[in-house]
Homo-oligomer: 656 residues x 2
């Protein structure tokens, strides 16, 4: 077997699967079952149409509380010429839903009658008076629900392939059924394989991986209408995987082996599939995903003689996307369920992207609606970055043949969120501070989603300039005046009226390992031979701050080992120090505390929110502006290390 894969195009892989299913007789309904009609039938898929057995109502029913009459008896009644109907065999009280007596053909609502006693005086017995006075005529069938008003026996109530909603259950009961024939839920066995895998909840050492793909796959499959069975983790031993696959094939309609689908030294999935049946596809040109295996197991005792099997790649994003692309349509087909077409939205790409020419590339994006512009900002493309799925508002497919798109390109986004979610999203592009995470947490309670893209202060101002965000966090020091932000705003946003509001004062300092083993005291130490530095990207406020102070100290960038090693957030800098990739970096105290590092305070600085006036005045931002005066929020922030909330919410005067 080759150590490399040869990927085939997605369409080819789909056709190959379809043909194999056809040949195995697995291309349609998987089967049906009859279940009791109760609330557990919710979301099941009808495998047979519902034809009404009974009409609804199944008798002529009074539609009101009132008196059943013969309409002819009320013919001459008018407001000025009322008629008294003696309560008798031909005028009787009925409650709503009561059957109409044979002789009756109309109902007078009780509130349109005057109850009379035997003397013709108003009676206190509303429902059982001697007579009722009536001041209008009632045509036949007035206030009567005729038999079959809702459903006529034999009519089609629901078509096969329909997914049952709460109301549907009522309609099925109303027309006389107490059972429903629904599609059998496909049973999908998920086999996590890998000697390095550890179950959720087990402490992990380097090289060990928390096994959660099987949980994500199971949740996906259950939500699509299948029944997932998670098998225990199997070590990377050919015989063990093979044995478990044979076992699974005896009870499952479909098997997913995760992972070992690539061509590494411990990747056995393809061999296992080949040994148990047919290996149809090994490698599909999709990104993320490509080491996908498709096969068919034929073994004695197999469900139906043939069980389709997938080798699902191990990277979490690849695994989830492979399931979306291949497994979801298969389950829908087996359930006879109408295809779900995702809602799409036109958006404008915020930055250039590249894509391998041969792949169908499923790119995750966040969507910001700023004024009338809908913007799609690409998230991390890494197949291992599951937060790119968590944060994604949608998927943009870059089809095979497309090698990339420039910034500003129009794209179709397959939405993963509701339009409402997008319309209540505050899009912050700029400098990152942990306080933004805390704000997001608070704003969620006010029906606002705060999505922040961390690109640094300067890039944040540029995004405001392009109208691509609602606000920017910024802490840009002017080396000449020693003031924050205003000079940069004048320079980069001359045409855009903005409000500048202070979020926090915060300390910047050096992040070093606990106990400060290398005895770093200040910026002067970072040129020492045994010290490696981790920097922030160009345009970050922290980078400006560093450069300002390096210059003051007369230190040249080339004297700082690691000056070119750039990270995009304070936490990433802290992580670089914590992992030993660097000795120190400049950042905020909160990031140090977060990862158990020591913090050597050097400077204090002001972190402002820059908000275009038109957004500042919009309904969207009201909860965010209010939050700056929320006492509980201030208190919480003030307790975080290195923050000063004394100026929180202060409007920064632009003439300062």
């Amino acid at each position: 077997m080759s150590v490399y894969l040869r990927d085939i195009p997605l369409v080819e892989a789909q056709n190959c699967l379809e043909n194999a299913l056809l040949e195995a007789g697995l291309s349609g309904y998987l089967g049906s079952e009859v279940i009791s009609l109760d609330e557990k039938a919710l979301n099941r898929v009808l495998a047979a149409p519902i034809w009404a057995k009974l009409s609804s109502p199944h008798y002529h029913a009074s539609a009101m509380d009132g008196f059943a009459i013969r309409s002819i008896d009320s013919t001459d009644a008018t407001d000025t010429n009322p008629i008294n109907l003696i309560v008798s065999k031909k005028t009787v009280y009925v409650d709503t839903g009561d059957p109409l007596p044979d002789w009756a053909d109309a109902v007078i609502p009780i509130e349109h009658t005057e109850p009379l006693d035997e003397d013709g005086q108003l009676s206190i017995h509303h429902r059982h008076p001697h007579a009722v006075r009536v001041r209008a005529s009632y045509p036949p069938w007035r206030h009567v629900r005729p038999m079959g008003e809702d459903i006529v026996a034999t009519q089609l109530v629901l078509a096969a392939g329909h997914t049952l909603r709460p109301y549907d259950l009522g309609a099925i009961a109303a027309c006389g059924h107490s059972q429903v024939t629904v599609a059998r839920r496909p049973i999908v066995g998920i086999l996590p394989t890998g000697t390095e895998l550890k179950p959720v909840g087990t402490p992990v050492k380097p090289g060990e991986i928390i096994e959660y793909n099987s949980m994500v796959l199971a949740a996906q499959i259950n939500s699509w209408g299948g029944v997932a069975i998670r098998f225990p983790i199997t070590d990377d031993v050919f015989e063990n995987i093979s044995e478990r696959a044979i076992l699974a094939a005896k009870e499952c309609d479909l098997i997913l082996i995760n992972a070992g689908s690539s061509a590494g030294s411990e990747d056995f999935t393809a061999q296992v599939v080949e040994s148990l049946g047919d290996l149809l596809v090994h490698g599909v040109a999709v990104r993320p995903g490509h080491p996908v295996i498709i096969g068919m197991i034929h073994q004695p005792g197999c469900v139906g003689g043939n069980v389709p099997v997938f080798g699902v790649p191990g990277y979490p994003v690849s695994a989830a996307m492979t399931a979306e692309i291949f497994i979801k349509p298969l389950i829908f087909k087996w359930l006879g369920k109408r295809k779900e077409k995702q809602q799409t939205l036109n958006a404008t790409l915020t930055r250039k992207v590249t894509s391998p020419a041969g792949d169908d590339d499923f790119m995750r994006v966040v969507i910001g609606k700023v004024d009338e512009k809908v913007l799609a900002a690409p998230l991390s493309r890494g197949a291992g970055v599951i937060t790119s799925l968590v944060q994604a508002d949608g998927i943009v497919v870059l089809p095979r043949g497309v090698q990339g798109l420039p910034a500003g390109s129009p794209v179709d986004v397959r939405l993963l969120r509701s339009i409402h979610d997008l319309e209540t999203t505050i899009f912050a592009i700029g400098s990152h501070d942990i306080i933004l995470d805390v704000m997001a947490q608070y704003l969620a309670k006010s029906d606002r989603r705060l999505v922040s893209a961390n690109v640094g202060s300067l890039a944040g101002l540029l995004a405001l300039q392009r109208g691509e965000s609602h606000l920017a966090g910024s802490h840009l020091l002017d080396p000449v005046t020693g003031l924050y932000n205003l000079k940069y705003i004048d320079q980069y946003l001359p045409q855009i009226p903005v409000q500048v509001i202070t979020l926090v004062g915060r300390q910047q300092g050096l992040l070093v390992n606990a106990g400060n083993p290398q005895q770093i005291q200040g910026l002067a130490d970072i040129t020492r031979q045994n010290i490696s530095f981790v920097n922030r990207q160009r345009g970050a406020g922290t980078r400006v701050l560093l450069d300002y102070h390096l210059k003051q100290l007369g230190i040249a960038p080339e004297d700082v080992r690691g000056y070119e090693h750039e990270e995009y957030t304070h936490l990433a800098v802290a992580a670089a120090v914590s992992s030993g990739r660097a000795s120190c970096g400049l950042g905020i105290a909160a990031a140090a505390t977060a990862l158990g590092l020591d913090f050597i305070p050097l400077f204090s600085e002001r972190y402002d929110l820059v908000i275009p006036t038109q957004h500042y005045q919009s309904d969207l931002l009201v909860p965010l502006i209010e939050l700056l005066n929320n006492i509980e929020f201030r208190q919480l922030v003030s307790e975080m290390p290195g923050y000063d909330v004394s100026e929180m919410g202060r409007m920064v005067d632009k003439v300062t």
Copy 2:
């Protein structure tokens, strides 16, 4: 207690509920619980934010199968000047996901290496050669997933109030959690009450009602994130209802009593609520729904001391809508879940509607997208017509103060279906035939929804004229020429090019009770004194046919008892005969068979589909046109009584 209700406005009722909840301390989170992180956590709502405990990856990991190296060792490699790296302590094979050795800072993918043996020849040991030849330099961290690439420990991964999706479970596991704190699911007790109620599956006599509201309510509540408990049916006895409510209050967070919420002679809900606590609201000005009760039970042993209680009206549409309006927001509030705002769509109302001025009126509509026009056609307004919810594509709210809207009014529709569903909907307005139901059933398999509004042949042509439908079923006889449809099309659709395609030939005849007890032989008999007739509405093809033959027989409409009794479908005519409301009616054989009636064949007629050419040529209608040539479909129709398929699919020549 009054026998009538005094309705208060919806907003007032909502405020009253909100105040009572505040006072009882039930206006926020109901509580939280810690559950294991597995696929069963899907759709649960986070009651606390997820902060990362662990970075992901939690070590520097190889991103490829390949060789871990020190990047500095590859510095001088180029395509023409390759470097050989001896596989040793400083060049070792790693699989994807393996931890990077301490000394390494880059990975060369295996496919970019040439394995060499000790003689410098290509080796067959791809992963364990003596050396690898490298033809490019690898900068630090190339093909490495640095620690924290996905998640940095301490960062906010998910906010409280978030409903867990499959991917989220993965991210939570990835950052080191094995449990999650989620909102406790509110327990909702549903108490069906009514002596006339029978459980699903019990045969019913007139006056008895199949109890399915509790099932619909339970399904709604479960789908919103609550836990529904259905109690058995309680008879209309004050003490029994009271006793059961006390029982339910000991285990439930919320109680729904259904129904007895009106003011009829056997309506005890208000009294029960009053006797067990506070009756806050009795009657809300919403339609459907108005006899809604809101109260608070205070009883020893009550959950939390106070249990909110609703009297839910008995009509199925009222019950379901009351739950949507009051119970869903309450459950969301208790779960701390973000509000779900329904997607809305602008549409044009197809016909005039009226509404009580004092009510917020929730009108069910079907939506047809014809060309670029989005049309909202009101469904039955009856609170007992559950099929109006089943068929509804959306809800139009006619707010308090609005007494109605003329046809053509723009309305905002709250969508109950996806845009995709609407875009694949074929909107047929015209004459009804059971074959249309069968077609709907087939078309569902081809991702098409066939929605038919049954208004009769002529009204169907008028709808085509107004551009409000895709096709019309029509069987309009020209009394002069004896030909079908063409004259009417010329008259009513002179400007619109149409295709006329025969669906079926069918027999029209008299529908009479089984055994034909009144010995009706033909149209001449319907003037007999003891015979009552049920007619079709004006403009129906069957009505034209009747009038044509009555005229030929010299019978005046006033000589036919029941001539003015109009029904809108063949099945409704059959139901009128079957229920004894009429002795006979003119209709098709299938309707007679459906309800076990006898059929006296009189005439045969042609039933055509009239399709504007532009729709005929659209993708939308392709599956419908193809169906007319589907052998299985033809066979099925030919086996139905009274149908002739010999001309199915034939284009009717307009010059005929």
